[in-house]
Symmetry: C2
Subunit: 521 residues, 2 copies
Amino acid sequence: MSEVGRVALLGGGVVGAGWAARFAVNGIDVRVHDPDPHARARVDEVLEDAARAYARLTLAPPVPPGRIEVVASLEEAVAGAGFVQESVPEREEVKRPLLAAASRAARPDAIIASSTSGLLPSRLQADCAGPERVVVGHPFIPVYLLPLVEVVGGEATSLETKERAAALYRTVGMHPLVLDAEIDAFIADRLLEAVWREALHLVNDGAATAGQIDEAIAFGPGLRWSVMGTFMLYRLAGGEAGMRHFLDQFGPTLALPWTRLEGPELTEDLTDRIAAQSDAQAAGRTIRELTRLRDDCLVSVMQGLRTHDHGAGAVLRAYEAKLFSRAHRAARAAPHDLSRPLELHAARVAPDWVDFNNHMTESRYLQVFGDATDALLRFVGADDEYMAGGRSFYTVETHLRHLREVAGGEPLSVATRVLGCDEKRVHLFHRMFHGERRGGSENENELATAEHLLLHVETAPGRAARAAAASPEVLGRLEEIVRAQAPLGPPDGAGRRIAMPGGRSPAGGRVGTASPDGAVE
Amino acid sequence: MSEVGRVALLGGGVVGAGWAARFAVNGIDVRVHDPDPHARARVDEVLEDAARAYARLTLAPPVPPGRIEVVASLEEAVAGAGFVQESVPEREEVKRPLLAAASRAARPDAIIASSTSGLLPSRLQADCAGPERVVVGHPFIPVYLLPLVEVVGGEATSLETKERAAALYRTVGMHPLVLDAEIDAFIADRLLEAVWREALHLVNDGAATAGQIDEAIAFGPGLRWSVMGTFMLYRLAGGEAGMRHFLDQFGPTLALPWTRLEGPELTEDLTDRIAAQSDAQAAGRTIRELTRLRDDCLVSVMQGLRTHDHGAGAVLRAYEAKLFSRAHRAARAAPHDLSRPLELHAARVAPDWVDFNNHMTESRYLQVFGDATDALLRFVGADDEYMAGGRSFYTVETHLRHLREVAGGEPLSVATRVLGCDEKRVHLFHRMFHGERRGGSENENELATAEHLLLHVETAPGRAARAAAASPEVLGRLEEIVRAQAPLGPPDGAGRRIAMPGGRSPAGGRVGTASPDGAVE
């Protein structure tokens, strides 16, 4: 990074401003030149969006951000810069003289990269001083987030230039795809342009609207493309028989009028070449392994979209809401023996709840206990409608004991006691079990316990929450459970405090001690 | 759902088996007919993959699964079924007689759907009895996961048939895209086929390999397509100036040789139509709002892929690893005053850490405290290398106090005391603050505390972990901190147990009480 020093950006549109954000977030100073008087405002706006995205993207401690200056001339921008990235409009007659001027103003060892989506680098570098250090680095919007950058050299570009450009892009979190030779539109834009032109035909013919075409991508094929490209996906679509089978089966459709683009003839030679390249991609992984990788990734992608209630994630959320409401109706309708611990919540250890040892992480124990608390509150009438009225229970104190590890994919169940309550407070004790509690010895299956003190509060927009009495109905239901469960006596492990055995107790006095030997197995 | 009764599936390949899984997971009985003797094994395999995916997809309680029978004849499959889904090879001369036979064997009110990717329903229904109930329902592999299904009627198909088919697909969690009229390859496969043929040309010309083409999708454009379609993405690429600006700017590239597919002429009329359809899609949302939605979704998609260390997620993971190791080196190198609480961990409240009130959820407090514990352990030498030797610290007991809420996006810091230790045990006390602890009043910024008892263990593959002494170096470092911090005295809130004020204490004796009034603000 230090080798590069400052980066010069020519053009401050959506792409140029995106570059500014990516470099600055990664601690590299940039100077932007764009004759448009709105360039500074646009750069600031994109920077703000990028900062917002990075705050969510990673918890890794950020590097101190680079400085961004918007300067008045090309010469000022490139002076002293070790790397120049041009992102002006997609016209050769605009780019070519600009790159030539930059090559004369820049340090002789500075790399000069163009963001062009498809113009040939051999032509872009033709008028440059030192054309061997001129290269294409084609990014994708949003430049500050998407990792792909195509690195393409022209006839005069040196191998070293391609390697140095790729190395810089890597330091700012990108994935350089280095092409061996130049072709119009490189690789990605050939595919993007084919989709775009086919889509324009569909609208032009009145066969589909922009909205329908976008749905046809984002609810289906687009989800897969975030995980794998077309060749790998089709290898998996061929099932265990693989790529050659897929080509044999779908070969004939190449002759059908399924797009206005005519395909090449699927000769023996082409089939052989594709099958061999597909084998190389698979790198020995079986269809089954790759299918599971695809599915795991698709599940995570859809769950990610669910967070934002968008696209395929909105479909998933609506689907789950139906399943949950069906289950809640069933739970309410089912008879519950209030004199026993209540079994209102079950879950399964999700793959992203585990650490590198495949053990459920500490915080996920508390998440499951929190869900069990929610289930109890709904059970006593503190449901969504109740909360919507500005009333809620907050957890103020929690005591957890970890008794046994549990692995990813395993089923969990929680049994809940209500140890006490008054107008404003509820004292709960949960026990978490592996599997269904009813089967097998309870002790062997017991994973953890959680003791909670909850406070009933009233909330109002813009005001701090205040402790307040729960509704008589909710309180009555809680008291009923306390009375019914009282004969069970205090549960093992309730009312404990933490201290070192034989050690100083910070609070003084007689204390309970953790039992290390039962704590792990 | 009950209206449909059983579903008949004709063809048990990757698509047919995928349908079997989707229907069965959603509680619908199916009968599959496929003359291939391997059909049963393939269906079982796909079912297993689907069950695995659904176990991760949602925590919503599943419905009791439908029964799957593989039967010997078409007649047996369709007898009594309310819905027939055909998924045999993509050849009209195979599909047409099969659909005709199914239409004669099926209930007169049964809907008959074809999974064809692009053959015209008017032709497929031509020989059928009751062609008005024959329709295309085109799904995407993996059928059990991807929500998109294109619903396309032929000339004879009734509107009611399209509506009933769409309703059934919705009940099994899909997103039906209902086309107004039929065209070859419908919508999605026109785009998929254009990409496929362009990709085949690239391989045929030797311009790119299957592996390069797949990278060009999955590290860039494919990520975006999981969120939005091409039209919406290009609207955003146009910046605040929007779709018309994008078309004006990129219109000329339609004439360039960027794909072998020629585009339509971008006439005034076509531009107007696209701009109007794009406005309809945006539905009043500004470019800025949509840009942030796109970015939020992209971040979540990349984080989802990071879980599996795949594609763009692997790039993100490697990038973060570099940031973390840089920060760890800096933290170790920085001077620390051991006589003060140690400030070794800071974080920011991520958007998916908050509840619907934008407050950080309980379990995320524990996650942050867990990360602070990890930072302390690394600080005393129990780092990755130490853990790799089969030694580790497990948390056996935790006591949390929640003092104040904190909102999404806010910065957090943790200060850590080591209250005691012996060979096998460490007693920790963390305080979590809003922002940097050094600024402002400590009490006002204090969000929560966590007291932990950790146990040092030895682990070996296939064996349960056992309590064991920590290394002399780690123990020495811990003891040094305990001695240095001892003059600070016991922290407020350590050594507490949970009880209802004035209530029965399950463990008996004098107890600390939660202070509800300080607990919320």
